[in-house]
Subunit: 203 residues, 2 copies
């Protein structure tokens, strides 16, 4: 598709780099922006620029933050002795949304995946061990491994468990089982099998 303006063409090109956005959607976005007030478009441009220049990461848990220490790590209301290890920032947000967890987090920034060239050094693993060994920001009593149940997630959990065991702290993992509201007949065998093996007292 030939566009009548190079400015429009480069906007379409840039917008189509967004995930799941093809040339056609990018064009729709660009033409939509053309009809918006100049201030709104500049606001969007500025907000995107800030993503590149103004984003900080918490030096303790590696979560996105406006400050050097994120609100969760610096909150006196959180249980600082429990650290939940997650793959990425989305997972922190997902767990926060449940409002069921009051401990701290540790964002690995991925999982071990030799196929994608992601090794131990590409992840925030050294700082996790440091946190547990040196008690940053407070002595750690429990590490919850909340990693995805994929080959890579399991490998990472296995590796972390092996590294953390010598410290003698409690290592747990989130419960796997039938989702609330799901029918047993449609559950996959591994999940159903695990949910029976790991059954809990009826409260």
């Amino acid at each position: 598709m030939e566009l009548p303006s190079t400015t429009l063409a480069s906007a379409v090109e840039a917008l189509s780099s967004l995930p799941g956005v093809g040339k056609r959607s990018a064009l729709r976005f660009a033409l939509h922006l053309l009809k918006q007030p100049t201030d709104d478009v500049l606001l969007l441009s500025e907000a995107i620029r800030k993503l590149a220049t103004d984003i900080h990461y918490c030096h303790i848990c590696h979560c996105i933050s406006d400050t050097d220490t994120c609100p969760i790590c610096s909150s006196p209301k959180r249980t600082q002795s429990i650290v939940c290890v997650v793959e990425n920032i989305q997972d922190v947000m997902a767990i926060e949304n449940t409002q069921q967890y009051r401990g701290l987090y540790h964002v690995l920034g991925g999982v071990i995946s030799p196929i994608d060239g992601i090794g131990i050094r590409d992840l925030n693993i050294a700082t996790l061990l440091q946190r547990v060994q040196q008690g940053i920001p407070a002595p750690v009593e429990e590490v919850i491994l909340a990693l995805p149940t994929t080959m890579e997630g399991d490998t990472t959990a296995y590796y972390l468990n092996k590294q953390l065991q010598p410290t003698g702290i409690k290592i747990t993992t989130i419960a796997r089982g039938i989702a609330v509201g799901d029918n047993l007949e449609y559950a996959d065998e591994i999940t159903l099998g695990r949910s029976i093996l790991n059954r809990i007292p009826f409260a």
Copy 2:
């Protein structure tokens, strides 16, 4: 959903103003951008900023252009005596893609729609009449009305026809009928009816 950073939150807010993009997709876009090289993100930001500041419209046909007169209006290869009136820039691109039309365009910028508060003065109608009356950029012999077949499109076409008739030029409209490859049995009655009334010699 509470976001851990105001920079991220304002990016999500701004991105969700794009058409068909909700908070969840906007967050996906923002988190994707966080993982991209700084230069790529700045490029996107700059491309969007330019949409607000660097876009020009052709002073003859009102199509988007990098120059004061668009490549179509200034091309000596186009038939300057035929003007195709369309609703918006997308329509110009759609017709250009067919490679079947070699005349000029006139972009109205919308259609008459009292319900949306769009009247005659909000559209590029005065400049169309001027083009026909004064022969800009060349004497006009035919005006093709290529407007949508909606209540608003038909109203606009009716109005334009009434305004243009006194000038004595040829006024045509694009053929409505069964789309190439469509089955007659699935065509709507109005389209099929019109296609029979407006039948053409078998070439």
